[in-house]
Every structure is written in structure tokens, then in C-alpha cells.
Subunit: 751 residues, 2 copies
């Protein structure tokens, strides 16, 4: 089968091992490798080979992969394509294989790998001096090998490791050629040559800084290392410049360089402000360079920097994944990215080895079924071999955002299979979405109420070169694309990055101490000047219900009358509503701009009673949203996909509650109940357990939600909107009943 | 958690076993049980218990399930609800548990199970004599316990087995009460009381016949047995009567009863004309009654009836499933139904035990991880224990339709992970769809080009009582809902069941002998009088392609100029087309009737060249359709969901090629190529391997399709449309090249 596309097939080759070895001894046994592999590490690895299954297996796969590439021969084409195109993918493949070949040379002592690395690097050294800027013009910082400096930096981060592995095997003359013709001009180009790329706080710059830093460490070049750690001294950039994504390049007074890129985007809790998808992307350069600095410049104590935030962030990132290990797609995030990615293999292994051998990380490594071929991978392999792993138990967690942890955050409530992700964070730099107080809901790793994620097919060339699609801006970033309030059909902060970047929501309350009633609550006052949004989520595990349920309270207070649109992007098949709706014979978009132009209005209705109920079936589970209705609510069933001239968007549905009001409370419960099997064809517990839900009390000080279940039992959730410290005593009279409690909230069954 | 809904929870309880036993000895040890369990079987089971893992596990689960129900107590409510509602589900639960309790009594010799069965049956005997017809009026044959006689029959089929298990434990007086107050009037009601239900060839009637037959065997009642086997002698039904689904009740001259229900719907290949979903449903009564007849009336040689078609049909049905064991949803079929269903556990175990111990069936039983608690289940459990199972290898297969195998059929071509299902069958009784020469395509168990299946949520009460939705008729059965030609926006046979029932397509060619080139081809001349449709599919495994690809040739010849609409219901995300299309700012339906009213027109374009290409991504695989274009083709991107006032339809897409012509050939290739991972973010082999495809030759005698791949290689598929026997020699000149071959087709690489 198939002889036409060996190159592509090789991309996916993983199989058994060929173990022919020709041994050769490096000329000199002091010094290199010292960057990621160390000389002691290499000795330990060799001593354990054959008895560390996960390491041995990774090694076999790597040998298979690299040998196939060596067989194919060296290809260093003239750069031409965007992501997904041939030259892009070939050069990307080259740096990944170079790094692996370097490692194989060290571990197996087989000179063919050193020869391959040398020859490939020499081919680049021959090509590079005469290369113009890449012909594709899309980037604000065009590279030479790739269309953007970002990918050039990726190249150098990996290639530095390969160089370190064969450093001592090369002659002085060969090293001089590589450094003078390739590495030094390469490092200069992505730094001095592109200050708008290098001198920022951004994941792009992190890669740039690390690229320069890695090669600096191999070459023992202090100037470049200083540049990597602290940025260019002068950059002549103007404040207010923007990149392709609309992100600011120069911010007045902001520090730059690798250390600043740790200081700024990471909160003390290890949350990375761009969101988990980019945190994953950034983890590799952060951790690999940290490991290199630890090895070569131990005096910097890099793993202790900012109270050890780099290693802590690995735990944080794992906590930002669902039950299947897929990251929550906050801000720009491509769905499906998970802790099975190569970046997380790096992150988990390094965090285990340098972070105190946390046995829970071994269970993640075991799932990854792959380790780094270095000292940290060896440590993990030995840990697994010795059966040390413990379950990584993801619990409810609140993660602050901002360099000092005071710019809002992300709260994740977990209960049985449910995971609720509440975003009340800062803007998230240029990858941020305008979605203050939005949320998403998962059950057993499946999305129930989705966050759309980004509008992009990363590296799929036929979809806009694999880059951000224009719908990312017109749809995915807009507020109406998210499960939160849009006021008067305008996105938060008017959809202006400059404004959004100045603000963040404020945590009101987070409490997961009682597993029966977990709460997170935050306020947003800047998204719409003159309007305060205060949203509270609770997950309540009540024995009168089959499963825990979600309470969602959005209190809106405003100086003016407004239209509030409040969507729930449910996934699945609509089962039943308690209200009548009409479907139009012709579909028109919901609006003209701010994302509304991308929504078809599929149906419209009015509440039938004091409650609106909406049930759907998804992945074999039934769900019901029960919400306190205003008789004048418009209940809109919408679907994504209007004004989508290239079919870039997914045709997924939403229920939108539209209400005209000045002050109002949207109070809802989302239940997961029962299940349906297409094999047994049993529909079990297919109906909601709730007959009614109402806002029993609401003012600046208190909100009370009353729920009646199908057996007539009354439940009350009482919340203090102010004076909400743990010791405060509260007293409230509702319908002639007096309620007393201590602390910010209480949940009771009345009868 | 949850105390409110024990009943529902019990429905899904499966866990460990409680094995307390009180032994009791039946009064009399001759005779019963003899229906499904036999006395020798019970002895053998007891002797092997504890050493037959899959049987022991099923037994443990059953004990757990039945004990929980016994704990809950007996509930025999007054019938009231439709499917999915309480009384329906409770009575359904009762008969399933009764059958299991009877078995447990026999195997465990614990009298509590006999007491439970007796008491439950006595409760029914008390209720039944005074029961009116069920209050729900939806059925053409209303039951008493359930809303339709069909479910009443289900009840009796299971309950007969329970009665057999405790027959000898009961006193004569108790038996008389049960028979006179319950079983005999019950059997009379569903037969004499409902001849329109009982005296048909239909899966409903099969259940009715079997219900009466099973209780007849237990009671040794020859009159009822005769009625079961050969139907009511007189029924006073008028020819032409229809049921709820539009199916004919009485057909002139048609035999009725159980034997006729084997004769008529099963082809000699074991294909059941209603399709696999209903075959699965019917398998249980067919096989359980066959087993009972084999045990009680061995002289009937029921397993040899019609050359052993009943047992053969089990193999056939397994072959009608995809790689995950899910049945192809031909005609009315709910997706997701699979060989993991309880009916298939029965079918597989019985087919193994009574059909010569085919070791391949053991591998299916092992996946099912569950066996019947009877003689056949014991045989399977012993076979698995002894490691006898072999892989059930599903190969390409052609299955004839019709009692004598001469009414068209279904051809399934399989190659590597691809499965192509081509339907050229008869109407399929009342569950048939108007989709002559339609197809669907699967890869690794995922749908690539889908058949919609039915429009129904079986047993989900909030969706139309769990019954057929009106969209089943207005959408799912219509031709435009399928991957075949609709002429002038009218369904095949004008959508008239009476007309469609008279006709079937004709096989032209089926050949799977060469795994490199497998072909199926059929003609349809009656769907549109005056128009002949001739469709040929080939799956070609060519070493110049990454994977096997599908060739699809639809030759249309007509006496008149017509509009031909030819849809491909692809699943997934559109990647790229080679033609321009415009998306409207307002969506309108594609038409007014015959299913067109349910399609939104999302985009429209014209071919950009001699070929139209259309690529999409689904479940991480890329697909491309390349089709020979007519410059005047309308290329329509449509989506299901218009005129859907209750959101009963799935919003899934189609590419529709619309062509106005008299005679024309639609020639296409569908490739599966490459893959994309959201974890590695590599897009591998994302483009088609084809640069052009053309109809190089076409007349009544020959069709030739020429394909050029990206490396400039030319491929030719040559087909004889007549004289297509295996020994015929053919000679054809195309563009000054002469092609010679023997047999109905050849595939060659020209350069």
C-alpha cells in the first residue's frame, strides 16, 4: 500500500525497535551534554536500559522514528509555505528529529546519529546566511525558516539541544562554522532583528527568549543569555503597537525577557493568563529552559523563582483539564488539546523530577505512556517501575489570575462527574475573549454547556493556512458566543482590547469546603459601565436529587434599562420545553454585528409560566435547565453558522433568554438526570426533579432561591451579597419565615 | 444520594452478587421446565456453576437485579401511559424480571424466586379479567397492559418462560387460575381479539404468534399452537387495510402465522426485509420460540426450516453491523442499536448452541460479556472458558432480499477499515424507505456518508411518546433524505407504499473475489417510470493511494429531460471545495414537499472545472469527494432542520449535486486520506491524491472512468454494462487506445 507519501507516513510511525549499535566514544568526556541530558544522567540511563519499560518503549519508538528519517535522507528545502504546507512541515519535522537524534547519539553511542545531526545542521548553516525574510507576509514578525519568528524560535529551542548532544563530538572548526554561520545570526535575527517579537510579555516572546537562552547556554555566551533573561536593552518600539491578533507589543514600563515572562502572565497560583491552551504551548519553553538553567546555571535557582511558580503551574494546568485530560478551552483554545501532548510529557516529567517527586504526576505519566529521554524521564520511568504512582485526583479549585493574583481568576467546581468552569479572570492578553463571568459545564469529560473555543483549525493548511480565521474575531471572541450576559447586543468593553485589558472581575466568594454545597461567586462592574453583573454558581449534592445540580444566579443591576441576552450553548438534542415556540419558514440572523450576525434564529417563544424549562439529551444523559421566567422574556433558539462564507463555524445550538430590564436576576438550575441507551432503549429518569424555582428574595444584601422538587420538598439557597465573611451572622425574613445562618451562604430543606 | 427514584436506579443496577440460598425441591421432577431451560440443562448448569466465568458473572448480575426488585415489592399498576411513561416501563420491567426470576428459581433452587413469580402472576391474573382496552388510542391494535398489542405480546413471550420455570412448583389450582384468568384470555385477546395484529406478515405479528405459541407449549395447548404456527383460520380482514405506519395488514393470498413469518420476510441468505434494526427486534421471538419448539416439538425440525434460515440469519445480522457492532440503519433503524443488545445475546447463544458451535460466534459473545442463563448460554460459557473463540471476521458480502432471494438485496463491500453499504433491495414492508440504490459509508465504525435512519427517539416519552415522529414520514422515508437520485423533487414510486411494495432493484453484478477491486452494481427501473438508474460501486485498493478508495458511478438514462438531485450526506466539518459558492443572508428551504421542506439551502455554487472536489474532516480523518462535473451543475450545500417545529431532526449537512439532463452519468471517487490530531496538531496527508476524474467512455454497453493521481499516473476502471458474465471477452477503443479484458470489469494503471 502507498508508496507516494513516505514523508507523511513517517510522521505517524511508531512501532518496534531496531537496536543495531556502533559504539563510538566522544573525544572528550567533560562538559557537554549539560543542557537537558547530563553526563551523569546519560550514565544512569545506560545503566537502566532494558529494565525501565516506559522509557525503553519510548526509546524504541524514537529509534524507529529517527532511523526512518535517516533512511529518507536530509531535506532542507528553501522556505516557502505557511503552516500545514510542505516546507513548513518539513522544517518542523527536522528540528523535532534533530533533537531526538542528538539524544539517541548520547544514549546509544551510535555515531550515525551524530553524523545525521551534524550534516543536517551544516545544511542549515549553508542555507541560512543567504536566506531572505520568509516570502509569506502574514506575520508581524516574519521568520526566515518559517513564516513567523515564533516557529524559527521553536526550531532553535530544539536544535540547541541537538547541538549540545554532539558538541564534543564535533571539531572546533565545525562548531565555529555552525555558531558563526547559523546559531549566532539566528539568535540575533529573532532578537535584535525582531524586537517587536522578542521584547514582549507574550508566549511568542517566551519562545524567542528561550531560543536565544538555550543556544547561549550551549555556546556559553553570556551576552545572549543576558538578552534571553532580561530582554533587549533597547528596542525602539512605540507604545501601543499591535500584533496580528490585536495584542499590544509595547506596554509602558513593562519588563521584558524570560524572567518578566514568568513574572507577568503567571499568577501565584500558576494560572497563565492566556488560558490553558497557550499555557500548554508555553510550558515547553518555560520548563525546558528552566531545566537547562538549573543544570548550567544552578546559582540562579530558577525553580524557586516567584515561589516556585513554574513547577506549580504544571499541577495547575492538569487541574484545568476535564475528566479525559482535555484542557478547558478558555480564551483562544483548540478543543481536544490535552495532557497527552508532547509539551505535557515534558512538563509532567520535569515537574516530577525537579518538584519533589509528586507521586500523583506518575499516574499522568503512565497515561501518557511516554517519557522524556533524559534524566527526568528516567526518574519517572523508575518511579512507575517501582509502582509509586497515585491517582491524580482533580478537586474543586480556585485559581487567581494576574501577576500578583489579584486580577480575578477561574473557579472550577467539581462534584461526582460534573465539572463547572467559571471564568472571572483578566483579559488574557491578545488571546483573551470578551466573556466576563462566563462558564462551561462538563460531565464525565463530555461538554454539556460548551465554551466555543477558538475559530481556527491549527496547522490545517486548507483552512486559512492553519491560522486564526476571521471568525475568531467576529465570532469566537465576542461576548454573545459565550455563556454570559451581552447587554444591548454589544460585547463587553465594546469589544475593545485596550479597554478590556485594563479590567478584571472581582471574586466575591469561593468555598469548596462543604462537598454538599460548593460555591463560587464574582462581580463584574467594568464590562458595561453603569451596570454590575454579579454571578454565583453553586453545585449542590442533595440526597433528594439523583445527581448534584448546578445553581446559576446572575444578578444584574444597572443605571439604565437594557436588553440582556443570556445564552446557554447546550450540546445535544432538544427533548422538550415547557413553553411554546414557533419556527420561522425562513431563517434570518439574530443581528448585524458583534457576533450576532453569526447566529440563526431557529425559533422563538414566550414563557408559559413562572418557570421556563428546557431539556436536552447529550451522550446518553438527560439535562434540564429550569429558570425563573419573566413573562416578557423572549426565548430564542439560535444556531451558530450565519454569515459563514467558508463554513468555518460549527453548527451548534443555544437557548438565549432575552430580557429587557434595568435590574433583574436570572436564576436557574441545571440538572443532569437519568440516561438513555440506544442498546437497551431504556429511558431512565428522563424528567427533571424540579417543579418550580423562584427568586424568593433579592436586594443588595441578600439573594434567596427557592426550589420545589417533584415530591413537594422545598429547598432554599440563601446568599449574603455583602458582609460575606465566614463569621458574620445573618437573619432574613421571607414570606413570614425567619432564616438565620452564619457565613456567606446556607442551603436548607424547608420541609 | 437520591432516595426518590429507586425504581429508576434499579433499572441500571449491575454489581456484585448475593448468594444466599434456601433450597427447595419441586414436587415433581418430570416435564417442566422444558421450554427454554431443560431439566438436563439445569443439572448441567448447577454442575458447572463457579467455574464458567461469563455465566457466573451474568448470574451474579441477574441475582443482584432480581433481588433488588423483590426488595422493592410487586407493583402491577393500572395501565395508563405510552412508552417511556411509568406504567409502560413498570410492566415492561415486570416481564423482564419475571423471566429472570423463573430462571433463578431453577438454577439456585431458592423458593423466594418462585414465590415472587407466582405472586406477580397472580396479581396480573386478578387485574386482567377486568381490564378494558388500554386508554391510549394511538395504535391500530391497542393492548390491555400496554398501549399496543405488540407490547402485550412481549409480555407473554417472557412470562411464558417464567411460568414454565415454576409450573411444577405451583399447585394444580394455582395453574388453573393463571391459565383461565390470565394466559388463555390473554392469548385469545392478542390473536382472535386482534386479527389485524395477529394475522399478518410483520414483526408485530411475529411477536403475537410467538407469544401465543410459547404459552401454548407451556400449557400443552394444541389449538393455540396451531394458531401460532399457521395463524387464525378466519380473520374477516379486508384486503388493503393499513396500520399506523402505513403498512398493509391484509395482502391477498398471503399466508400468516409464525411459519409464514419465516417464509416471507427472510431471504434465503437470512436477510430480513425490514432491515437490520427490525431483524434484531424480531430475532428474539424467532429464536426463542424456535428453541422452545426444538425442545418441546423436536419433530418439527424447526432449525432446519427453510434450509436453516433462522440460524443463518444470526450470521447475516452480525454482518449487517459496523466495526463497533452497530447495525447499519437501513430503513427504519435507530442508530446505536448493536449486537450488544439483549436480543443479540439470545441470538448469538442460540445460534452457537443449535447451529454447530461456530467458534466465531464465541468472540461476539465474549464482547457481549453476558450469556443466556440456560442451556445455550452454558454452551457458550463453556466454549469461551475452553478458549475456543475465533475472530468473527466481517468480509464483503452480498445479501439477497425477498422470500426466494430474487428481490434485489444489500451489498456490503469491506476493505481495510472502510465499509460501504449499498441498498438495492425490496421495499421492506411498512418500515421501508424510498431509497433505491442508496448507500452509506463507514470507516472504523464511524459514519462518513450517513444514512439518516429513522426519525424517532424510541421509548423517550417526551418525544412523541417515544413513537414514530411525523418527520419519519415527511423526512426520513423520503428519497431526498438518502444518498441516491431524486428525480424532479419527487420520491421514488411517488412515495407510495403500494407502488413501492411491488418493485425491487435488480442486481447487475457483485464480485468480491479480488480484494484489490471489489464491485457491486444494480439497476432500478421502476422508481421513476421511463428512467433507468444504474449504480455501480467499487472499492479499489491501489498501491498508489494511501488507503482504498470508493468509485461511485450512477448512470441515468431517461425518456425525458429531468432534474436529478444527488446528495451526499457527509458527516464532519467542511474543509475545502474547488468551487466558489455563495452563502445567502437568509436561509430558505430547498423545496415545499417530499422532504425538501426539511432542508435549508446553506450555500450554492457552480463547478469551477471539469471536476468538483469537496473535502471534509471527520473524527480525525480527511475525506475528499471528486466528481466529474457538468458546467451547469448546481452545487448545493444543504442542512437538515427546516420545518421542524419540535426540533426532532438532527442538523446535519449534505452536498447535493443538481443536474438537469435526460441521460447523464454521475461519476465520483470518495477518498479517505490522512488524519489530524488535536493533540499533536499534525495534519497528515490532508489533500486528495487525485487531480482529475472523467467519464472516458459511456454507452449502453460500456462505462469507463479515468482517474489521474497527483503523480500523473492514469488509472482506468472499465465496466461492461451488458454481456457481463465472467468469461466474456471485451474490447474497447478509447482515445485511440485499445483495451481488452475478460469478465465484467477491469481496473488498470495506464502509465
Amino acid at each position: 500500500m502507498m508508496k507516494f507519501a513516505k514523508f507523511f507516513l513517517l510522521l505517524i510511525l511508531v512501532s518496534s525497535c531496531s537496536e543495531k549499535k556502533e559504539k563510538s566514544t566522544p573525544e572528550n568526556d567533560s562538559g557537554h551534554p549539560n543542557l537537558i541530558l547530563t553526563q551523569q544522567g546519560v550514565k544512569d540511563i545506560r545503566a537502566n536500559l532494558g529494565s525501565i519499560p516506559i522509557f525503553d518503549k519510548t526509546l524504541e519508538n524514537t529509534i524507529e522514528e529517527v532511523d526512518a528519517e535517516i533512511e529518507l535522507g536530509i531535506e532542507v528545502p528553501i522556505p516557502k509555505h505557511l503552516s500545514g504546507g510542505y516546507t513548513h512541515e518539513r522544517h518542523k519535522r527536522n528540528f523535532l528529529i534533530l533533537q531526538k537524534a542528538g539524544v539517541l547519539f548520547q544514549i546509544l553511542e551510535d555515531e550515525k546519529y551524530a553524523i545525521y545531526v551534524r550534516d543536517m545542521l551544516m545544511a542549515y548553516a549553508k542555507l541560512y546566511p543567504n536566506l531572505p525574510i520568509h516570502p509569506q507576509t502574514r506575520s508581524y514578525a516574519r521568520g526566515k525558516i518559517f513564516w513567523q519568528c515564533l516557529n524559527d524560535s521553536n526550531w532553535l529551542v530544539y536544535t540547541s539541544q541537538a547541538y549540545d548532544c554532539i558538541y564534543e563530538w564535533l571539531s572546533k572548526e565545525e562548531r565555529d562554522t555552525l555558531e558563526n554561520d547559523l546559531f549566532i545570526p539566528f539568535a540575533n535575527f529573532i532578537s535584535e532583528g525582531n524586537p517587536q517579537f522578542f521584547n514582549r510579555v507574550h508566549n511568542h516572546s517566551t519562545w524567542g527568549n528561550v531560543a536565544v537562552g538555550m543556544i547561549a547556554l550551549v555556546m556559553d555566551n553570556d551576552d545572549l543569555l543576558e538578552r534571553a533573561l532580561n530582554g533587549l536593552k533597547t528596542d525602539n518600539l512605540e507604545v501601543g503597537m499591535k500584533d496580528n491578533d490585536g495584542g499590544f507589543i509595547k506596554v509602558e514600563g513593562q519588563k521584558v525577557g524570560f524572567l518578566a515572562n514568568i513574572d507577568e502572565p503567571f499568577s501565584p497560583d500558576g494560572y497563565y493568563t492566556e488560558g490553558p491552551y497557550y499555557q500548554r504551548y508555553a510550558m515547553y519553553p518555560f520548563l525546558i529552559f528552566a531545566e537547562a538553567l538549573h543544570n548550567v546555571k544552578p546559582e540562579l535557582n530558577i525553580f524557586d523563582y516567584k515561589e516556585g511558580v513554574l513547577l506549580k503551574s504544571v499541577n495547575t494546568l492538569i487541574n484545568l483539564s476535564d475528566a479525559d485530560g482535555e484542557f478547558f478551552p478558555l480564551n483562544d483554545g483548540q478543543k481536544g488539546m490535552s495532557y497527552y501532548s508532547r509539551e505535557l510529557v515534558t512538563a509532567v516529567d520535569i515537574a516530577y523530577h525537579f518538584g519533589g517527586n509528586n507521586a500523583e504526576l506518575l499516574s499522568i505519566a503512565k497515561k501518557q505512556d511516554c517519557v522524556l529521554l533524559d534524566d527526568s524521564g528516567l526518574a519517572v520511568a523508575l518511579g512507575i517501575k517501582e509502582g509509586k504512582e497515585k491517582l491524580f485526583e482533580k478537586k474543586s479549585i480556585n485559581l487567581s489570575d494576574g501577576p500578583n493574583g489579584d486580577q480575578g481568576g477561574v473557579g472550577i467546581l467539581r462534584s461526582e462527574g460534573l465539572e463547572l468552569v467559571f471564568k472571572y479572570a483578566a483579559q488574557g492578553l491578545s488571546h483573551g475573549h470578551y466573556d466576563k463571568l462566563s462558564f462551561s459545564l462538563y460531565e464525565n469529560g463530555e461538554e454539556v454547556i460548551q465554551d466555543y473555543g477558538l475559530a481556527r483549525f491549527v496547522n490545517i493548511e486548507q483552512k486559512g493556512g492553519g491560522n486564526y480565521l476571521k471568525e475568531n474575531k467576529t465570532w469566537a471572541k465576542q461576548t454573545i458566543a459565550h455563556n454570559t450576559i451581552t447587554q444591548n447586543e454589544v460585547s463587553h468593553f465594546g469589544g475593545e482590547y485596550k479597554v478590556g485589558s485594563k479590567h478584571h472581575s472581582e471574586l466575591h466568594l469561593y468555598d469548596d469546603t462543604n462537598p454538599q454545597v460548593q460555591i463560587v461567586s464574582a462581580k463584574e462592574t467594568n464590562a458595561y459601565p453603569g451596570t454590575q453583573l454579579h454571578r454565583t454558581f453553586a453545585i449542590i449534592d442533595d440526597e433528594d436529587f439523583e445527581k448534584p445540580f448546578v445553581v446559576d444566579i446572575m444578578n444584574v443591576t444597572s443605571e439604565s434599562e437594557n436588553q440582556y441576552d443570556f445564552p446557554y450553548y447546550y450540546l445535544g438534542q432538544l427533548m422538550k420545553t415547557n413553553f411554546e415556540y414557533t419556527v420561522p419558514s425562513v431563517l434570518v440572523p439574530l443581528g448585524k454585528s458583534n457576533g450576532y450576525e453569526h447566529l440563526w434564529k431557529e425559533a422563538e417563544g414566550k414563557p408559559a409560566s413562572d418557570n421556563t424549562t428546557f431539556s436536552w439529551l447529550n451522550h446518553g444523559n438527560f439535562y434540564t435547565l429550569t429558570t425563573a421566567a419573566d413573562a416578557e422574556d423572549d426565548l430564542i433558539l439560535a444556531r451558530i453558522g450565519a454569515k459563514d462564507p467558508e463554513f468555518n463555524l460549527r453548527r451548534e445550538p443555544a437557548l438565549i433568554i432575552r430580557r429587557n430590564a434595568k435590574n433583574t436576576t436570572f436564576a436557574s438550575v441545571i440538572e443532569s438526570h437519568g440516561n438513555y441507551s440506544t442498546v437497551s432503549e431504556f429511558a431512565v429518569n428522563a424528567y427533571s426533579n424540579i417543579v418550580s424555582l423562584k427568586v424568593a428574595y433579592n436586594n443588595d444584601n441578600y439573594t434567596a432561591i427557592q426550589i420545589e422538587d417533584v415530591n413537594g420538598k422545598l429547598k432554599m439557597l440563601l446568599l449574603a451579597n455583602s458582609n460575606s465573611s465566614n463569621n458574620n451572622e445573618h437573619k432574613l425574613e421571607i414570606a413570614n419565615n425567619e432564616y438565620k445562618w452564619v457565613g456567606p451562604f446556607t442551603y436548607i430543606t424547608i420541609n
